[in-house]
Structure formats: C-alpha cells, structure tokens
C-alpha cells in the first residue's frame, strides 16, 4: 500500500501556520453556509429533491447518457467516450493538437485533475493555464489543490503575495486582497484574449438539451467558454441531469452549500455551436474512470450523487486539522474518503475510509443526502476483506471477536486483563502502553481497570 492517511496527516499536523489557515477558513465558510441554509424553510425538501433527482439519473444512467449524446450531436457538438484517464487524455491532447495551439486556458475542473490532464498536456508540449484564481496560485506554486472549492485554502495572503511577486513579476505587490486579485487579472486577461482553445469541466450536463453548465464565482469560466474558437468539456458520467428544469433545485443547493452564498456570481450554460458566436467547435468528453464500478455497488453508489459542493470538508473535524493534501487524492475530505477508494481501489487508498471519527457532521450538511458514515463503514469492510489491515490488528480483532462471542470467555478476559495491566498502572492510571496501544498513550492517559465489577455488584444485591 502507498503511504496512507496517517503519514500524510503527520506533516500537516506539524505545520501550525497551515492549521491556523485551515481553522479560520473552514470556520468562516461553515458559518456562512449555516446562515444561508438555515434561512430556507424548505431546505430539507430541497435536499430530498436533489437526492431524488440524482438517484433517478443513476438508476437510468444508460438512458440519460445516450440521450445526452444525441442532444449534444443535434446542437452541433461532438461526444467522446473515455473509459479511463488515459483514453480521456489521449482524446483531449489529439483535439488540441489538431488546432495547432500550444497554450490552452482552463476552468477549474476536478475531473481534469483526476485524470492528470495538465501533465498529459505538458508532455505533449501544450501549456495549460489555470484561470481560477486559487488554481492559478496552486499552479504557480507547483502545489496540488487542497480543497475541492477553495484549492488554495492552505495558503494565506502573505504567502500568496510572495508567490505573485516571484512568479508574476510584480515586485511592489502588497498583500491587499484586491491588489492580489488585480495582479492575477492583468496576467489572465491577456491569456483569455489570445487562447484559441478552452478546456472546462462542468457541474451539470443536461440530457434533454445537450447543454453544459458551469457554476463559478470569478467570471474566468465565462471567458474560457466563450472566447476561444474551440471548447473541450470533460464530464464525469454521473454529472447528468434529465432536464433544464432540474437545475432549479441544484442552483439553489450548490451555492448555499459550497460558498455559503444565496446565488453564485456566474452561471454559464452553453448548448452546442452557434454560428458567429462563441466557440465554433465544441467537444464533450464523457469519463468513466471507475464510476461504473461505483455504480455497481448498492451501498457505495450514492457517492455518485455528489455535486462537489465541499460542505462536508468544511464541517469535518479531520479535514480541518489535516487539510486536503493528507488524503493524497484530488478528492479530499469525507467525500474523498469514500470516492477515492472506490475509484482507485483499496490497494491505493485503503487507509482513507479509516480517516474519519464517524462523527456524522458530513452527512448532516450534504445537500444530496449521501450517508457518508455508512459508506465509510461499508468501505472499511471492503478494505479488511481485501486484507489491507495489518497482521497484528487482524489477530487482535480475531481474539476480541472470540472473546466477545462467549460470556464466560468475556468474564475471564476481564480477570486476565486486570492482571496484565498491573505493571502499567501508576496511581490508578496508565500513562504508557506497549505496541499499537502506545498510540493511545502518546497523548492520553487511560484509567486502570477497577477491582470491582458490575457483575459482582449485581450478584451481591
């Protein structure tokens, strides 16, 4: 197995600046989300509607995918089917090459990150320019995004000022947010006006009309989808909605859950090619990359309802402490802990389902009602079945199971444990334990096992 979550978390937990940045940022978004969802008396009904629509799409995904394909074709677009990351990258690189472009502007896309598109483009001699401010920050810093919605949440404005001074050639820049955004705007505006190819992800694809929808805050998405001659949109197969009308539900759920806004600043919808207006060539790449396997699992499939709002990250006590990089995946936080192992398997990501205290805060805020703790427990079962736990743990769990299945063994185990604990007890508490249990006593004491038992008391009455 790759280095797991505990190893990834170790570095983050030792970085006090990172922990301060994360605590402040997640608390701010948490508060905003709570305010704008709390003001809607029908919030619960909206969640139910969102979950129901998504479940219907997943139940009839074969139908909606074919409908979407024919709709896109009808309005002058081309649909490409990609089984995995490699196929998707090959398709996109070939499409860009055909235009002769050496530079493409990109709208923030998790799906593009999932397939490693930027690396594939760079290897083909094509420079991808991230146009979302935070994605640009990560790209310039040579770092991976650490949050689904706020990719540079791990950085504060002083760190960003230093980065921009160095990378954008603006030595006098201050750390005023407006000035930082201004520097990025100047840099990006020229890119928008010269790029001939735009690459986007999408929040939703509409089966009925072949429309694609991007929800964003900065307007960079609108630039990327309207100015270039060629537009390539990559879309996970689970991102479809049956009709335009269904957007009504999701355009309320998504901004309130993600940025804590009643409405996001830019919602762009485009439908095929219109002569003389916008991109004259439009391609959609439909990506599977493990999603069909997720769909095949009756418990796990609800993961595909996700609309990538990141509300679960912002309320997660684990994410708040470790940040996104610890998850070693494009999809961090609670949703990443259930999506990643299903997409890439437990050999790659077997530690992620265990990166949760199962506190349930994620499920409480999820706008499409994914029961994340249930899927976590489900995937823990899969990880153990696929033998991703260590031999000592397996042995300990087997002994514990044997003990707990028999009342007399259970009673004897208590007596034996009372003897075994003796050398570790000091003044009624245990401050150091050996082996794996030392992980507990590294920061916490344990009360010693008392002489009296409940059962003895019960008998003596």
């Amino acid at each position: 197995m790759k280095p797991g979550f505990p190893q990834g978390a170790h570095a983050a937990l030792r970085n006090p600046q990172l922990r301060r940045n994360l605590a402040l940022a997640t608390a701010t978004i948490r508060g905003k989300r709570a305010a704008v969802t709390g003001e809607r008396p029908d919030w619960e009904e909206l969640r139910v509607a969102g979950a129901s629509i998504k479940r219907r799409v997943l139940r009839h995904l074969d139908h909606y995918l074919l409908e979407f394909e024919s709709s896109v074709q009808r309005v002058g677009g081309t649909v490409h089917w990609a089984r995995d990351a490699q196929e998707a990258n090959e398709v996109i690189v070939a499409l860009v090459r055909r235009t002769g472009a050496h530079e493409v502007v990109k709208v923030k896309s998790l799906t593009a990150d999932e397939i490693g598109l930027n690396v594939a483009l760079a290897e083909a001699g094509i420079q991808p320019i991230e146009t979302d401010l935070a994605e640009l920050i990560c790209q310039l810093a040579g770092e991976k995004p650490s949050h689904i919605l706020v990719p540079a949440i791990h950085k504060n404005r002083h760190e960003i000022r230093d980065l921009f001074r160095r990378e954008l050639g603006v030595p006098d820049l201050t750390d005023e947010p407006a000035e930082l955004a201004g520097a990025a705007r100047t840099y990006l505006r020229e890119k928008f006006l010269t790029a001939s190819v735009g690459i986007s992800g999408a929040n939703f694809g509409i089966a009925e009309t072949g429309s694609v929808c991007v929800v964003e805050s900065e307007g960079n998405g609108r630039f990327c989808t309207t100015l270039p001659q060629t537009l390539i949109t990559i879309l996970g197969i689970e991102k479809l909605l049956p009709t335009l009308e269904d957007l009504e539900v999701f355009l309320q759920l998504l901004p309130r859950s993600s940025t804590g806004e009643r409405m996001n600043p830019y919602t762009s919808l485009w439908t095929g090619v219109a002569p003389g207006d916008g991109p004259q060539e439009f391609h959609v790449v439909l990506l599977d990359n493990g999603r069909t396997n997720v769909l095949a699992d009756e418990v796990g499939r609800q993961t595909l309802q996700c609309i990538r709002c990141s509300a679960c990250l912002n309320v997660c006590p684990v994410y708040e402490r470790t940040g996104g990089h610890a998850y070693g995946s494009v999809y961090p936080g609670p949703i990443g802990a259930i999506l990643t192992p299903q997409l890439v398997g437990t050999a790659e990501a077997g530690s992620l389902p265990f990166a949760s205290s199962l506190c349930g805060a994620c499920a409480e805020v999820c706008p499409v009602k994914i029961d994340i703790p249930q899927v976590l427990v489900h995937l823990r079962g899969r990880a153990v079945r696929e033998r991703r736990s260590g031999p000592i743990e397996r042995a300990a769990m087997a002994v514990a199971a044997r003990t707990l299945k028999s009342p007399w063994r259970f009673r004897w185990a208590r007596r034996i444990a009372r003897l075994v604990q003796t050398p570790f007890v000091r003044a009624g508490k245990i401050e150091r334990l050996p082996g794996g249990l030392s992980e507990w006593t590294s920061t916490r004491d344990l009360p010693s096992m008392p002489a009296d038992s409940f059962r003895a008391w019960w008998k003596s009455r």
């Binding site: 199962l358 409480e364 427990v377 199971a401 707990l404």
Partner: protein
C-alpha cells in the same frame, strides 16, 4: 416498566460505576431492571474497524440475548446507534432475512438512557443532587445519530445543586471514534485539543456526556494535562443524591 440493561462491553470491563448508576436511577423511578448476564458487546468495535463477519455474529448474539425484553436501555448512544442504524445494514449485507426481521422488531425498543428517561417516560427530574459546576459534551452519536436533542440538558438542569455551563463548540467531535483514536492518533489528538480548550474555558469542574467512550478520550486528555476537571457519565450525576 421492566427494562433490560445493556451495560456495553466498555462499561462492563472499565466502568462498572456507570452500570450501577444506571440501575440506581431506573429503580429510583420505580422501574424493574433486569440484566441478561450472557450479554457482551453490540459489535461496534468490529463493525467500525471493518471486521463485518465478527460484527454480524455479535449482532445476531445481541438480538438473541435481548429478544424477550420489553425495552432495552443502554448508557451509551454509540452502541444504541449501532443497533438501530447499522444492524439493518449488516443484515442486508449478509443477506440474513431472519436477522432483518428480528431487528425490525427489536431496534425500536433499544433506547439510550436519556432518550428513555425523557423521550419515553417523560421524566426530567430524577431526584438527583450534584453540587458541582458541570458542562455537557453532546456526543456525535447522541446528537447526529439518535437525535436525543435537549433530553440530557433538561435532565441536568433539573439536578439540584448543579450549576450548568454551556460548552463552546459543543457539537464538534472529541476525536475519539473508536480505533480511529489509535489508527489516526495524531489527528484524533489534534481534534481533542480543541475540545479540551473549550472544556477548560467553561471553568466547569465536571464534564459529562452520555457515552463513556468519548469521556475516556476527554478524560485521558485532561488527565495527561494534569487538569483537575473530572469526567462523569450522565448516569453517575443522575444517580447522585444528598
């Protein structure tokens, strides 16, 4: 009412006083308590650690042991949540139709202590006396699993001599999470740090909760810091008298 006590394996081995206190509170209110002695564990440890074969065996055991009880009361929200929320999942996963049917009948009768007292019996004043400043940590399974709501607060507020102080950031997890506390000890401890800071800020001398598991995490951290603040299960406070 005749109530069967499900002590939980943790209280059985480490915290007998929680079981004794639970019995005392129920009997003081005039209820008959029975203790099926073959009980052990609900299976949560194995379920949450991924060992589902063992977990389903323990679920079948639990259902067998308590099949004849009118109502099962446990001083633990997480064990009750395991029965009510996850036993149906286990039955489904193992295709055990018989277990599924038994759970349908039994699960609604398995209640956490404060749920039983306030929700089922409609009691808030149990005649307790506890002259201390107390803060309350709502455990995740009681809050978001069982939705016990204000039941523990109303019980605590009715305790004579008790000075109740609100806990800042109360709804946030303490970082325990069973084997999570060991497998991800560093993260678990970082989450605990915030909880401890909030507890210490209240100036309370006792912190209470409905789960002894979370209190073991909190108490272990307080003890390591050399704090004088004590942990007490809510049953122990409700059992205390003048």
């Amino acid at each position: 009412m005749r109530a069967a006590l499900f002590l939980t394996c943790m209280n059985d081995t480490l915290f007998p006083d929680v079981g004794i206190a639970t019995v005392q509170v129920l009997e003081r209110l005039g209820h008959e308590v029975e203790f099926p002695e073959t009980q052990t564990c609900c299976g949560q440890l194995h379920l949450n650690s991924g060992y589902q074969d063992a977990a389903v065996d323990l679920a079948r055991r639990f259902v067998r042991v308590f099949a004849d009880s009118d109502v099962v009361v446990a001083p633990s929200a997480s064990c009750v949540a395991t029965v009510r929320e996850f036993y149906p999942y286990l039955a489904e996963q193992f295709g055990d139709q018989e277990l599924a049917e038994q759970i349908d009948v039994l699960a609604p009768r398995v209640l956490e202590l404060t749920e039983f007292l306030v929700g089922r019996l409609g009691v808030t004043d149990v005649g307790a006396y506890f002259p201390h400043t107390v803060t309350y940590h709502p455990t995740c399974h009681s809050l978001r699993g069982l939705h016990v709501g204000e039941a523990p607060h109303s019980l605590l507020r009715a305790v004579r001599g008790l000075d109740f102080v609100e806990l800042p950031g109360a709804t946030e997890c303490c970082g325990f999470g069973g084997t999570f506390a060991i497998k991800n000890a560093e993260t678990s401890s970082a989450i605990l740090d915030s909880k401890l800071e909030n507890i210490l800020a209240t100036g309370a001398d006792v912190v209470t909760a409905v789960d002894r598991s979370c209190l073991t995490q909190i108490g272990g951290g307080l003890s390591r810091r050399g704090s004088e603040v004590r942990t007490a299960h809510i049953a122990e406070i409700l059992a205390a008298t003048e």
